[in-house]
Symmetry: C2
Subunit: 260 residues, 2 copies
DNA sequence: CGAGCGATTGATCATAATCAAGCGATGTGG
DNA sequence: CCACATCGCTTGATTATGATCAATCGCTCG
């Protein structure tokens, strides 16, 4: 609703050489569930493809061929689509460790049907899909990681439809907070019940299909109920069970490790 | 919202022998875009796996392993999820020619995260995923058909999120009608601007995230605007351009043949 | 200090949900 | 064959939820 796109694709090569640059945090290995050797292999693919853009930049535009897969390294991005110039819907949140395009087996000449853009300053790797496909031949872990990611994204997509269609405003906001809390679980920014929440209320609104003003009021309501505390960049869950109960949150759809 | 599940899996073997039984309409070949030989191959896989169930039956339950792919032959089905016992959201409509499970490369032991159930009397083929995977090795057309279907389903899913989040009631109903009109395009039930619409208003409501009463009123509104005519089982689009304008409908997301 | 942005507040309005009947077609059993 | 029941669609009245409009506040930054 309040999108101002900025400069794009300021190509950026980490100053450091072959060793893992600070731009590629080691925790990605854990996020992706790769063995050490596989992770090194992936890092080599990323090495010369690291890019850095500001907030609200276009990472991939509608209709572009999918000849590259973008691996989010730091910051948050989203898939979004517009009904008209004034109405935006965010259809997916891409967090560190997520690929913008886990559908490697599709014809890369087919353009994507939506826009991927950054919601915060963003660091990502633009890996050539051919190279990634080649790596899949020698790395079963990567195959599995991409499969799980596709599967999880689809499942989240369905759950969002449930929220948008059948949950009320406070339930939607509460549900999203529960989801983010679980998805960010293995990130260092999460310490048990507190996590970084860099989105503006206007962005949140475009995720849950409400106006920013109403999102604000729902956050106040959740605070008043003693379920969360929130400041500009953080959310702290004060009563996890209560929050989940309000949202009718059932985490099985996230298909996290061990919950097959 | 008004779901009463009925008997399931009345296994049903067409009386006819090797030739295409009436239960497997020839038009599926066109729907799937397969060459004649490939289609015959697929028919052989389906031959002994044809099932028939009544309306509102469970085709696949939450948590079931995906060891079979269900190919819809006749009738409509849906994927659905419940927030609680009173709130249902339909997250996908499965029409003839659609597979319930185009994700063959995923681990079949992972259960599905939602329920697939019939919205009308339904005829489908329950094909073993191993056999289908084997067939993919010798049928590039099948590979392509499944890829396109996955891609289209994801894209529709995203567009539904846009509708649920950012379109108002009349736009949502209008948009769904536009989508169904295009998706059913090559079905014989579609004659230019008229098509079969076997869903109850209550089912429609669970697709577009409204109450059945409000769906009723929106249909009346579209009729009053001269955009559609509708009876119990049919919809006729009187003013396609007007309907699409109202819905902000842009068919590129459907990724139909030729619109790569 | 002033500008700008994002969060917040209050007042009002619009949209869609809810509640409660009634209607019309279909189907069944007496 | 008719009475009755059922189911899905339709209508009207009322309520509730969330959108809209219009300021104001507080912080950061130049």
């Amino acid at each position: 609703m309040n999108v101002i796109f900025q400069h794009r694709d300021q190509s950026f090569h980490g100053e450091s050489g072959a060793e893992a640059s600070p731009a590629v945090p080691a925790r990605l290995q854990r996020l992706l569930g790769l063995a050490a050797a596989e992770y090194d292999d992936l890092l080599r693919l990323c090495e010369n493809a690291i890019r850095q853009v500001g907030s609200r930049s276009i990472v991939a535009d509608e209709g572009e061929p999918q000849s590259q897969a973008y691996l989010i390294l730091d910051g948050w991005a989203c898939r979004c689509r517009f009904v008209d110039t004034t109405r935006r819907q965010i259809t997916a949140l891409l967090l560190p460790g997520d690929f913008s395009n886990p559908e490697l087996d599709l014809d890369p000449r087919l353009g994507i049907d939506h826009m991927v853009c950054s919601l915060t300053p963003l660091i990502y790797a633009a890996v050539d899909t051919d190279e990634l496909t080649a790596m899949m031949g020698r790395s079963p872990g990567l195959v599995r990681a991409l499969q799980m990611q596709r599967r999880r994204e689809q499942s989240i997509q369905r759950e969002w439809a449930v929220s948008l269609g059948r949950r009320n405003a406070s339930e939607r906001v509460a549900h999203l907070i529960c989801e983010l809390h679980r998805r960010l679980d293995c990130h260092p920014s999460v310490r048990s019940l507190t996590f970084d929440m860099p989105l503006l209320q206007a962005d949140l609104a475009d995720v849950v299909g409400l106006t920013p003003i109403h999102v604000n009021r729902m956050l106040q309501k959740l605070r008043a109920l003693g379920l969360i505390r929130s400041s500009r960049n953080h959310i702290t869950i004060s009563d996890l069970a209560g929050l989940r109960r309000l949202a009718c949150f059932d985490e099985t759809y996230l298909r996290l490790a061990g919950s097959h």
